[in-house]
């Protein structure tokens, strides 16, 4: 349908993806690489469950186990969940607000490559002398004494990918503020766009403290600074605060997009407007705001004092209110609607009880005195897996299934999807429900094995069996993806039939300029409004005219590779290698040189001419 879609060789496609600045292609890159890291993190989880399946197991050594849990947590949070969500945001958000691309296409590409190479740095640690082993929180009191280079890989990998995330956050904010199509007021934005907006704001304010914390750790480990060396006047609590000032908003950065995805799914498959839209917006903003006031509930047992603990406990409880508003709104959206149980809807419906259970244990943990009992036990492990797997991962699976046709132009198989859903859901509850009780029975988290006769055997075994269920579910999902991609049955604009928002008004996948003419939005659920008036497409808000598009660029990869090289120089600096400092300098020169080239070379982009667009239309009419 477009003159631009030509058959390309593999090399050309690869080059195309390496230089692309198109938000839809970057979304695919995020999805693929996030998916690979998700599988990697999943394998690590399976290894952990194998080790813990029976008491006194020697499947792996204690040292490897520490590396495994550290990498599982770090990979899943930073390299799997967040990138996949950023991918869905990239794919959907510009379409939902009727934009032709994001505000900074070049930075969008840079953000992706920074994340990707950061993840590569982190995972290279497995081959270069051992992975980080101080836990995903990498508390300084452990981290500065960790031998080898594991923690250095953690610091540098997260630093690089953190820059990428920050860039993505700013990019989304500007896109949403400046590039909405005529008529798309703030209070007409789809819920997923709203959550993207709030999440981007959280990224903007939460990542700088992490950057600083990582720099302090980097200086301590690689350049002889003394931030965390108590003998030289240092203080390790600084790391804990900086980490959790970032870390708590981070969990909202993960869960809010999932909330957004579920909001879209509930209203689509109930064929109803989202119940209490404005209260949903309010609740999202409130969660974002309160998310910055509660980080010390991760540190109740540090000994901050009763006043600090009380303040943070109350703030923590307060978050239950907006979250509760959301839960009830979703239920009321389904109430009286004509509900169809497609795969995304199944995920959405099962998300409500699963996530609520995680929320309830969250309230238990938020009660500071009781937290002294639960702290560092499997109860905590159960809690955060209930919110992250029961909330975020179900959200990701739902979102990927729901938006798959929009991204790739073909549907995933519903039957296989239901297999994945049931296996994953049952496996998830098997794995983590029993862990509540393991925790209450006293099993500490992060232990690499345990002795028989403490009543922990059965529960641990059940937990490990659950992990197998989840793995099989994910394998079926992969098979599903392969089969449907090979069959490649093309779908139209609105494959689910009940699409409500702008992204369903354009072809799947959309042409690279998204909208030939920017659509005019006349209310919430803009496409649904037009459909209800019997129209097939959106009313254009502008006459057909030339479209300005940005050029692709290889510079983002060059900038990133410079940092990648510099990271290795810094990494081996503490070994007194003579080449370390020159390597840092060469790497930074490549980075700043590429930035200079970018800033000196004019790049005005190109125009798609009106005539070419009209050709398209004529062809469609003839066909």
């Amino acid at each position: 349908m477009s003159t631009y879609a030509k058959k390309q060789g593999f090399g050309a496609t690869l080059w195309d993806f390496m230089t692309t600045v198109d938000h839809k292609k970057i979304a695919i890159l995020y999805l693929i690489s996030g998916g690979l890291f998700f599988i990697l993190g999943g394998l690590e989880a399976v290894f952990i469950r194998i080790q813990l399946a029976i008491p006194d197991n020697n499947f792996m050594s204690a040292g490897i186990f520490n590396e495994m849990i550290t990498m599982h947590g770090t990979t899943m949070i930073f390299l799997a969940a967040m990138p996949i969500l950023l991918g869905i945001m990239n794919a959907v958000m510009p379409l939902q607000i009727g934009a032709r691309d994001v505000a900074f296409p070049f930075l969008n590409s840079l953000g992706f490559w920074l994340f990707f190479f950061g993840g590569v740095v982190l995972n290279l640690s497995w081959f270069l002398g051992g992975a980080p082993d101080a836990g995903w929180t990498s508390y300084a009191s452990l981290a500065i004494h960790s031998e080898g280079h594991g923690v250095d890989f953690y610091v540098l990998g997260l630093q690089i990918s953190g820059f990428g995330t920050l860039i993505a956050g700013i990019n989304f904010l500007v896109t949403i503020i400046n590039m909405r199509t005529p008529g798309m007021t703030y209070m007409r934005m789809p819920m997923f766009t709203w959550t993207t907006f709030v999440v981007s704001a959280l990224i903007l304010f939460a990542f700088p403290p992490l950057t600083v914390g990582l720099f302090l750790l980097l200086f301590d480990r690689m350049f002889g600074a003394n931030f965390f060396d108590v003998a030289a006047g240092g203080n390790t609590i600084i790391w804990e605060h900086l980490f959790w000032i970032f870390g708590h908003p981070e969990v909202y950065i993960l869960i809010l997009p999932a909330f957004g995805i579920f909001s879209e799914i509930f209203s689509t498959f109930s064929r109803k407007r989202l119940f209490g839209y404005s209260s949903m917006v309010f609740a999202t903003v409130l969660i974002g705001f309160l998310g910055f006031m509660v980080w010390a509930h991760h540190m109740f047992t540090v000994g901050l004092g009763p006043i600090a603990n009380a303040i943070f406990a109350i703030a923590t409880m307060a978050i239950a209110v907006p979250t509760g508003i959301k839960i009830f709104n979703w239920i009321f959206t389904m109430w009286g609607g004509s509900v169809t149980f497609t795969v995304p809807m199944l995920y959405a419906v099962s998300f409500i009880p699963s996530f609520t259970m995680g929320g309830v244990t969250g309230i238990m943990l938020g009660a500071a005195p009781a937290d002294y009992q639960y702290h560092d036990s499997y109860f905590v492990v159960a809690h955060f897996h209930y919110v992250i797997v029961g909330g975020v991962v179900l959200g990701i699976l739902a979102g990927v299934t729901y938006y798959w046709p929009k991204m790739f132009g073909t549907m995933l198989n519903e039957t296989l999807g239901k297999f994945t859903f049931w296996l994953f859901l049952i496996g998830f509850h098997l794995t983590f429900f029993v862990q509540h009780f393991l925790g209450l029975m006293g099993m500490p988290r992060r232990v690499f094995t345990y002795l028989p006769g403490q009543g922990w055997e059965t529960s641990n075994l059940i937990s490990s069996i659950g992990a197998i269920f989840m793995s099989v579910g994910i394998i079926i999902l992969l098979i599903n993806i392969v089969i449907t991609s090979v069959k490649n049955v093309r779908v139209g604009n609105d494959p689910w039939g009940d699409g409500r928002t702008l992204e369903w008004a354009i072809p799947s996948p959309p042409p690279f300029y998204n909208f030939k003419q920017l659509p005019l939005v006349r209310g919430l659920d803009a496409y649904w409004i037009e459909k209800m008036e019997g129209k097939k497409e959106m009313t254009p808000a502008e006459p057909l005219d030339d479209i300005h598009m940005p050029n692709g660029s290889i510079i983002p990869i060059c900038i990133t590779i410079g940092l990648f090289i510099a990271a290795f120089g810094a990494l081996y600096n503490m070994d007194n290698k003579t080449w370390s400092v020159p390597v840092i300098i060469i790497g930074l020169l490549i980075t700043f040189g590429s930035m200079l080239v970018r800033s000196l070379k004019d790049d005005h982009g190109f125009h798609i001419h009106k005539e070419e667009l009209m050709d398209d239309k004529d062809k469609e009419v003839k066909a």
Partner: protein, 208 residues
């Protein structure tokens, strides 16, 4: 309007920094970045305040032994003045007088370099007094905070220079005017951070 279009004084827009969509995006995006930078520097300030005067043994110099009024005062005056000169540059940018803008930017850059020179002298002086990056937690925190600011100054200078050289022959256009404007915003932000540094680190350090 096309970004490379040549303008007369009369057709040059009143706010060239936000005249195109690209410029609007750049302008807003940069402000948001500054919002993030605020948190970054706040974290560094917080770390400094938590580790102020934390040294392993009592023979090491503390804040009140190190800082001196004349040097800090000179650095402050230089940086504040450079903020004003960059405002002058932007005033001429808005009036479409390119050469005057370049002149004021040259002055700004010279002031920036003299600030950096004083900072290097200062750091060198402290190291001789036994206050180095690796000597104590206080030292690490001090050099990280002030050094981060110094790195920002350096980056800002490089940025100004790159823009000035790059556009020396081309003059102003709607493509590069927002770039100059955003660079000057960055320069003001550096000044904002310095206001807090001289107050919180130096003056409060001297008070004790």
């Amino acid at each position: 309007m096309h970004v490379e279009e040549k303008f007369t004084d009369a057709t040059w827009p009143a706010s060239p920094e936000t005249a195109t969509l690209e410029a609007k995006n750049k302008y807003l995006g940069f402000w948001l970045f500054l919002g993030g930078e605020t948190v970054l520097f706040a974290s560094l300030f917080a770390t400094y305040l938590a580790l102020k005067d934390k040294v392993p043994d009592s023979s090491m110099p503390l804040a009140k032994d190190l800082f001196e009024i004349p040097l800090t005062f000179a650095m402050t005056m230089i940086l504040l003045t450079s903020s004003l000169t960059s405002v002058y540059a932007m005033y001429h940018m808005k009036n479409n007088s390119f050469q005057k803008m370049q002149t004021w930017l040259v002055i700004t850059v010279l002031l920036g370099f003299s600030f950096l020179a004083l900072e290097i002298y200062e750091f060198n002086h402290y190291v001789h007094l036994g206050h180095s990056f690796t000597s104590s937690a206080f030292g690490s925190a001090f050099y990280s905070l002030v050094g981060f600011h110094g790195a920002h100054v350096t980056f800002g200078l490089m940025w100004f220079l790159a823009l000035m050289i790059r556009n020396a022959k081309r003059g102003l256009s709607l493509y590069n005017a927002p770039k100059f404007f955003v660079a000057s915003l960055y320069w003001h932000f550096i000044d904002v951070v310095w206001v807090f540094i001289f107050t919180v680190v130096y003056l409060m350090g001297m008070v004790g």
